[in-house]
Each structure stands twice: as C-alpha cells, then as structure tokens.
C-alpha cells in the first residue's frame, strides 16, 4: 500500500488538558494557522459548534463568537475542545485526517456525536479518516477497514469479517487463558 502523491494529512491529537488559567482565546489558537476570520467561522460551523442555533444564522454567529472564539481555550468543555481541535485540523483542508483516540476523556453522549460528526465529514468532504481506537463497538459501527495491531499485525480487512475470536484473543492478550501453573509436589 502507498500514499497517493501530494496527499495532505492532518493530525488531531488526543484530547489534551489545557490549563484553565492559560490566557489564550480560541480565536487566537485557530489564528495560529494563519487563516481568515470567515474561514474560521465556516470550519467551526462544519464541526457542529453551536449547531443548536443553526436555524438562525445571526444567532449562530453570535453564539460562536461569544461562547467559543472569545473564550479562553481552557474554558471550553471537553466536547467543545475536541471539536475545536478537529476544526484546527480541517483548516489545512486535508485529504486524510489522522486521529489518536479522539474521544478519550469525553462522556458517552459526547462520544456518539463526535463519531457522527466524523462520519458526516467523511461523506461531505470526501475525507479519509484514519482512527486509532481501543473501542471495538466504534470500529464495528463506523470503520470500512480495520488494521489490528498488538506488537505485530494481527488482522486486516473489513471489521465484521476479520475480527473473529482468534484475532480478538491475540489482540487483547487472550493467551493468558492458556497459562498453566507449575505443579509443586
């Protein structure tokens, strides 16, 4: 397998903790990418920030400005921060998004919507999404292809076909079941 030529890969890091005291606004953070204000607004809309106000565009814009852009980055909730980090990656207009455990530290409800968002980005923007995850439910539900690794490659293919009991045992250390105690006379 090879990457296509001139492919742009953007990386979304595992959610990191940001000091609540850090004096940096979300807008300043996104401006590090040297993009215009309107590009930033667009990308925040596309990751679903303030989507509950999407039917009223003035209100939506004001919500993004007041509750996200002008706030300290460290004041955002876990879910908001994760969306901002995805927006950060999308600003480069990539062909491939690389995620490392995108929902670490987010509650289950938030987790669901993040994956729905990724699915939407995949179809809307024709993005290839490379995701590192320990969560098999997610892999079953969303992935077209899976590559399972436990020190070496264990299996590769469509999740429903290749994730059989043998490879799962190899992946999650099932061989522990075969451990035999030494018998001491």
């Amino acid at each position: 397998m090879e990457w296509a030529k001139d492919l742009k890969i953007s990386y979304v890091p595992q959610k990191f903790s940001i000091d609540r005291e850090l004096p940096l606004s979300t807008e300043e953070f996104l401006k590090f990418k040297k993009k215009s204000h309107s590009e930033i607004i667009d990308v925040l809309k596309s990751v679903g920030i303030g989507s509950e106000h999407a039917n009223d565009s003035d209100h939506h814009l004001r919500h993004i400005k007041e509750h996200v852009l002008s706030q300290r980055l460290g004041w955002l909730s876990g879910g908001q921060l994760q969306r901002v980090l995805i927006a950060w990656a999308l600003l480069d207009d990539p062909d491939v998004l690389l995620f490392d455990e995108p929902t670490a530290g987010i509650d289950v409800g938030g987790e669901e919507t993040i994956y729905n968002l990724l699915k939407k980005l995949h179809s809307d923007r024709n993005l290839t999404i490379l995701l590192i995850s320990h969560d098999l439910n997610i892999v079953y539900k969303y992935a077209n292809n899976v590559l399972c690794i436990n020190k070496e490659m264990v299996c590769h293919g469509v999740p429903s076909e290749v994730l059989d009991p043998t490879s799962l045992a190899k992946l999650y250390g099932g061989e522990a079941g075969f451990y035999k105690h030494d018998s001491h006379g």
């Binding site: 990386y11 890091p13 990191f16 940001i18 005291e21 850090l22 004096p23 940096l24 606004s25 807008e27 300043e28 953070f29 590090f32 002008s70 706030q71 300290r72 980055l73 950060w88």
Partner: protein
Amino acid sequence: MDNSLLLQLVTGSLIGLGAGYVGSFMVLRRMSLVGDALSHVALPGIALSLLLNINPFFGAFTALFVAIVGIWFLEKKTELPSETLVGIFFTLSLAIGLLLTPEPELLEALFGDITKITTLDLIITVVLVGIIIFVIRKISNGLMLGIISKELAMALKIPIHKINFIFLLLVVFVVALGLKVAGTLLMGSLVIIPAAAAKNIAVNLSSYSWWSILFGALSAIVGIILAQYFGIEPGPTIVLTAGVIFLATLFFKQK
C-alpha cells in the same frame, strides 16, 4: 524634572516593559524561578566588571551567558536535571560573587540602584529592549504552541528546540538589564509579578502581553518616583509597586 530623574524614568520603564514582555512567556512556561536563579549567577560578573572598572552590564551578561551554555552542556553530558544544575550554579556563583565584590558596591550589586545609571546604560537598554520586542513578536506563536502541546507544535514543523534556546537568550538579556533596576536578589520579581498580575485579568494572549508590559513599565515609573520623593532606594519600591498591582488584580480575576 532634572536630567537624572528623566534618565531613570525612561530607562526604568523600558526595562520594566521588556521584563513584563519576556516574563509573560516565562510565567506561562513555568520558568518563573529561572529568572530568579539566573539573576544570582550575574553577581561574579558584576564583581569582575567593578574590579576592572567597566560597565557592570557586560560582566553580568557574560556571566549569565556562560551559565546558560554551561547548564545546557552539563545537562547533555551528565543527565542531571536542570533544576539541580541551576541550583548548583546559582549558589556557587553567589558565593564567588560575594567574595569578589568590593564591599562598598555590594549593596548596589545585590539590590540594584537605578539612580546610578548612565547614558550608556540607556543606549544598551534601548537596543536590547528593541531586540527583545522584535524577536518575541517573531517567535510568540511557536512559543505559545509549544506551551499548549509539543505534539501540535511538532505537527506544524515548528523548531521548538531552536525557539527555546532563542527564548533563553532573551531571558539572559532581560535579566542582565534588570540587574540595574532591582539587583541580583530582586530581579526575579520584575519578570514574575507583572506577568502574574496580567494573567489574573486577561482572557486572551494579546491583552495578557499588553497588561504585562504595562504593569512592568508602570511599576518602574511609580517605584522610581516614590523612591525619589521619600529619598529611599528605588529597587525595593519598584518591586513593592508591582506587588500592590498584583494584589489589586486579584479583585478582577477571570475565572
């Protein structure tokens, strides 16, 4: 207003604003006490300059520069943590400095005395503060990204190690300048307090830097005027003014 007071106010406020600017990033990088420890390293340099009868700035700068390169080198060779090395360098230098500094000048070296500055000091200050502002504006995005997440900065191909070294040099510049104002014992406060006060009230990076610069300059101006008025040492009054500003900002703390 006599010339000497004007000279003090101009030089003092420039050093205050430079210290506020560099300090704003030192506080975010949790390097607050590095400035304090480094400033002690300058004492033997000041002592040698006094003995050789040259401007103490050059001796202090040389001593500081040798110290950071030495720490950087030993850190690589011995794998001792840098706080241990800074601790060793700092006490040894202070000991050597105390022995070398002629007694009449010792108090000035320890606590600074901006009433003794010359036009040459003003020129050095203008040049260095200009360099500090120019360079920080160049590297501030990289510095800030390195503070938020090394991973993110590396993904954007930001040369973190280079930026860190450049920043350390700026710290040396500002510490060497600040010795005139607050001396080796109080210099650390000039970089820490204005930045800590600004952090209390700022929501974003640009207002944070501006407040820190303003508080640094304001502390110097008010401190110098108070010292002149009451006929006391300006070093401590500048530091105390900064302290009062810090206490005041606690009432407006952003949560």
